[in-house]
């Protein structure tokens, strides 16, 4: 096989790979733009003929979906902020300062990360119910922060440790206090790392299902994944509407991926790649 055919083969395989990833998404987009009855035609049309926007109108008119999107945005954003506010100082200390019982602290975070979420959701439900927080944002933000903290500490510890060790010393000599050294010198320099962590936390919180399912009981308080998951649990499935709702709900994450794929790759591989 010559070099040229080899390169052509590689590209064919690359296109196949991209197709395998994208065809299911194309199909959902197709159904979302077709009339509901188009799905029951035999043989099926593989493109919307003609494209209609009725399903999107149904999503935004009939049910609580815009509200659900708002809930998801609030919960995911506040989770991201809270996790970073708690996680970045901790990661800074763990990566650049002498810390007593450091391994114990790291083991604690690891333990949280691997404990089955299914077991945490019950006791947390009881706790939230006692505080009358069911169907409120804190009932989701607090558990989400708990579950994303290990990820944030993991990624940020790695990022902080890649900065040269002399930075704080220089800042201290210039008259900064240690806290100022962290806030004014280290944090700005690790903005890319913090940003990477933020994207991964946001995507995680946007996608979470189990806690959101248990902690909410009214249509207005649901997040997007739960609204969609319960859609699919109905008997007569309004597939065209579901497809439109699906497309709407994946737009934010797909935008994040398209804009920041390099950062996401960095975040996923931090710790393995040194």
């Amino acid at each position: 096989m010559s070099r040229k055919t080899g390169a052509a083969m590689t590209w064919v395989l690359r296109l196949l790979l991209a197709a395998a990833c994208l065809i299911p998404l194309y199909w959902i987009a197709n159904v979302s733009l077709s009339t509901p009855s188009a799905l029951y035609k035999t043989p099926l049309d593989y493109a919307p003929r003609p494209p209609v926007l009725d399903n999107y109108r149904a999503v935004f008119d009939v049910n609580q979906f815009p509200r659900n999107i708002g809930n998801s945005l609030v919960v995911a954003s506040l989770t991201t902020l809270l996790t970073l506010a708690l996680g970045s100082p901790a990661a800074y200390a763990l990566s650049r300062l002498r810390v007593r019982r450091r391994n114990l602290i790291l083991a604690l975070f690891l333990g949280i990360a691997i404990f089955p979420a299914i077991g945490m959701v019950g006791p947390l439900y009881v706790g939230m119910a006692r505080l009358h927080l069911i169907n409120t944002y804190p009932a989701l933000i607090l558990p989400y922060t708990l579950l994303t903290l290990p990820l944030a500490v993991w990624i940020l510890t790695h990022f902080f440790s890649t900065l040269p060790p002399s930075l704080e010393d220089a800042a201290l000599i210039d008259g900064c206090t240690p806290v100022q050294a962290f806030v004014r010198v280290i944090l700005p320099l690790s903005a890319p790392g913090v940003f990477t962590a933020a994207i991964l936390i946001f995507i995680w919180a946007w996608n979470e299902f189990l806690f959101a399912l248990i902690m909410t009981s009214t249509p207005e308080s649901r997040t997007v994944p739960v609204a969609l998951g319960l859609f699919a649990g109905l008997h007569e499935l309004p597939w065209a509407t579901i497809a439109a709702a699906t497309v709407v709900s994946v737009v934010p994450v797909l935008l994040l991926v398209a804009l920041f794929q390099r950062r996401i790759v960095e975040g996923l591989t931090s710790g393995v790649e040194r």
Binding site: R98, L108, L110
Partner: protein
Amino acid sequence: MNIRQEARLAAWLIAPSLIFVAIVGAFPVLSQFVLSLTEYNLKFAEERSFVGLGNFAKLATDAVFWRDLAQTFEFTVVSVGLELVLGLAAALLLNRVIRGRTAMNSAVLMPWALPTVVAATMWSLILNDRIGLVNSVLGRLGLMGEPIVWLGPRFAMVSVILADVWKTTPFVAIILLAGLKSIPRAYYEAAELDGAGRWQVFRSITLPLLKPFIAVAVLFRAMDAFRIFDLIWVLTGGASRTETVSIYIYKTLFRYADLGYGSAMTVTLFGIVFLMSIGLVRFMRVAVETR
């Protein structure tokens, strides 16, 4: 800054997250361990009693638990195995893409970034026996007589695995891609000078140097796959022999309100995943040291 000051500063910086973990996390985690030693069903709340390891003894003879454990194991081994093979192939294809790298990487990351529930809903439409895309294509190609009931008893596990492989192979591919990029180019150039064939290069350079990355990817995935809940919950609800341990726990806790027994299962599942994580930590260390 002397050592004392440094330690004090570190304590102040770590304290907020530790306090948070203690308040929000310690209670649910510890309560599982305590509850696992009691007989406690919310439907008979007054009959609460300490039973020691009784729940675990019951678990050991619970046929449903063993069946679900076996099914969880089957799901984990087959999906992670496929994800490894396909993820490696994808990583090799993504490595050294020069033109269109951003587009390729974005395309491959899309399934990973999707909410699991959304991916599951999508697949339940695509695999639908009457109106699904898969049966339509198979029908048109003349490869299918009767419509295949993908989410029925015969193919449910296959379908669930297919959806999981589609969703999480990108994660494996990205980790392995990082591994490929860490291999110095000079090794390949030297091998080429020695006239080594492609397969030989792959077997004696790429694969050995990729090993720690493979281990990390596989263990990460296995820990997640072993706890799988939402994908299967949406696709089959655990019917047709696809019930996993997490779904059994969900039913025990929330449908039968059996807190004691459900907690014992949670603790057992935690134990299994904990053992996997020990392996993970060990391999990570190797991955760092081989550099």
